[in-house]
């Protein structure tokens, strides 16, 4: 059982995660962008586009325009998630870089905060009628998964302290292909398995929004209409007999008007 959970599962899930994301991104990039459809107000330079994407990444300006509470909980949960992820790099790197050591405390408190916005997002789905209507099982599942991971993480930090050296040995063992089997508290196993489920669920669900927005043609195009955008699958115009007003007829009409004959 231990071998299944701590050796087989992580390798499988990581492989599915990486392959799944790779495939999706490959399909996105392979698909052409035929037209310029950027949303106004749009930047005119590449630098402007970079700033726009950085803005999208950090403070969700569109969401701010739409709904302030949603924006606040969205920004809070995402920023905290980043800090927690960066903080946990200490389990993956040896020796631990100084900057990772530097954000340990910040990351810890960020971890305590996460369940609040996530719970708010969940409540919002249940309370607001329009959002309840559009929510599908997958939306609740993602939120429950995040709640399970964060709450079990907090409990592990506060009450059921795991021996951190063991955890690090486990993860480094996986990274360097010398896996070890641990004897740990069941809460850690829950935390670990939920993360594995998240990894598998990620590429096949809406959680992939993380990888998608950089490619969104509404945001990553420039408003430089003087440059021609080539449409790779363009085709010639097809006239048929029923198209009474074909260019040939127009040419003839112009000729007759000038008293010429073809």
């Amino acid at each position: 059982m231990g071998a299944l959970t701590f050796i087989f599962l992580p390798y499988l899930c990581t492989a599915v995660f990486l392959l799944g994301i790779g495939m999706k991104v490959f399909f996105w990039i392979r698909t052409p962008v035929p037209l310029r459809i950027v949303t106004t107000p749009a930047p005119r330079t590449r630098m402007g586009v970079t700033w726009r994407l950085i803005g999208d990444l950090l403070w969700f300006p569109n969401l701010f325009k739409a709904d302030k509470l949603l924006w606040a909980s969205g920004v809070l949960s995402h920023i905290c998630l980043w800090f927690v992820l960066l903080r946990q790099l200490r389990y993956f790197l040896y020796p631990v870089p100084t900057w990772v050591e530097g954000i340990q405390t910040l990351g810890l408190y960020a971890g305590y905060i996460i369940p609040l916005p996530v719970a708010f997002l969940l409540a919002r789905r249940l309370v607001i009628n329009q959002v309840l209507y559009i929510s599908i099982l997958g939306d609740y599942f993602a939120l429950f998964l995040l709640l399970t991971i964060t709450v079990s993480g907090i409990l592990l930090q506060l009450f059921f302290r795991t021996y951190v050296i063991d955890v690090k040995a486990l993860i480094l063992g996986l990274i360097y292909f010398q896996p070890k089997i641990l004897n740990v508290h069941w809460l850690f196993t829950l935390h670990f398995i939920s993360v594995m489920i998240l990894l598998v669920y990620f590429p096949f669900s809406k959680l992939l929004h993380a990888g998608g927005f950089l490619l969104s043609p509404m945001h990553n195009q420039r408003a430089s209409f003087r440059e021609r955008l080539v449409n790779p699958w363009d085709f010639p115009v097809a006239y048929n007999d029923q198209n009474i007003f074909s260019p040939e007829k127009y040419r003839q009409a112009l000729m007759e008007q000038k008293g010429e004959k073809e």
Partner: protein, 297 residues
């Protein structure tokens, strides 16, 4: 002062009965579409759907990355007006997304109950026809979406798919067919267009007492004017304004009977007709050998 619009309670099926008339066979044939709903419409639509997903990155991406945050839900004027939940941009796009998940994703094929994948059946098609023709493609929702998901792109894709199976509305197809007959959306025949222009000349003579020309089909003019829809029909004062401006500036100009209106209803139907309708402008410019195109709308 900005007064917030009250957000309506959702009323399921509130605008279900507000539907467009189906297209007429004679118009469909003219604009290179099947003359009625084809026998194997489901296969035809799925084939076109696969094609559209491979042609537009926007559509493929928007199918995958929507997180259903609901930011767009109360931003669509059609939802604010009717309260029908399927008029929320996210729910409208979901009509497309459910079918996409069912036929094009692993998650939808294997775990349909989690992702709400649905078959493309008669009921779904009726919903498509009703709600994708209740979108005006204004793109307001894309301003509020954190990823810029543009429901107009999805609406256009859905209409393109339906058109490929011979399903379209009378209003749009009739106008596009009219453009191919007469060069404008209103169905003004070339002779009538010439007469209208000479009437405007007379009007102008009465008002200003100067001979100002309204040239039609003049080969070799400098500018081809393609006025917006309303100008040659309703707001003739604007049309007269153009003539005065060109006269004062001393620019030789012309209108064309092949293309005397800029409005493009192909946008509401499919890419081929969008392109063909716009191509008239280039064709007219080439044949009249003009140097510039002034293009309203």
């Amino acid at each position: 002062m900005r007064v917030p619009v009250p957000i309506p309670e959702i009323k399921i099926g509130a605008s279900k009965h507000q539907r467009c008339h189906p297209a007429k066979a004679k118009d469909m044939v003219k604009i290179n579409l099947p003359k009625e709903r084809v026998e194997n419409w489901k296969e035809a639509m799925l084939k076109k759907m696969a094609e559209v997903l491979d042609k537009y990155r926007s559509v493929r991406l928007f199918m995958d990355i929507c997180v259903k945050c609901g930011a767009c839900a109360d931003k669509c004027q059609f939802f604010l007006g009717t309260g029908d939940p399927k008029n929320m941009p996210v729910a409208r796009a979901d009509l497309f997304r459910k079918v996409y998940r069912r036929y094009f994703t692993l998650g939808g094929k294997a775990f349909g109950f989690i992702t709400e994948a649905e078959e493309l059946d008669e009921r779904m098609l009726q919903d498509w026809f009703t709600y994708f023709y209740q979108c005006s493609e204004c793109r307001r929702c894309s301003i509020f979406c954190p990823y810029g998901i543009d429901t107009a792109e999805i609406t256009m894709a859905a209409r393109e798919i339906m058109a490929a199976a011979g399903i379209a509305t009378k209003y749009v197809t009739e106008v596009v067919a009219k453009v191919y007959d007469t060069g404008n959306n209103l169905g003004i025949w070339p002779k009538a267009w010439k007469h209208t222009c000479s009437f405007l000349e007379e009007d102008l003579k009465e008002i200003e007492g100067v001979d100002i020309k309204f040239p039609v089909d003049e080969v070799g003019a400098e500018v081809l004017l393609v006025p917006p829809s309303a100008d040659n029909f309703v707001n003739t004062d604007t049309m007269i304004g153009y003539a005065k401006m060109f006269h004062a500036a001393g620019i030789s100009w012309t209108t064309s009977t092949y293309c005397n209106e800029a409005g493009n209803f192909g946008l509401f139907l499919n890419y081929a007709n969008l392109k063909q309708t716009n191509n008239r402008i280039l064709e007219a410019a080439r044949q009249l050998k003009v140097k510039k195109i002034y293009w309203g709308e």
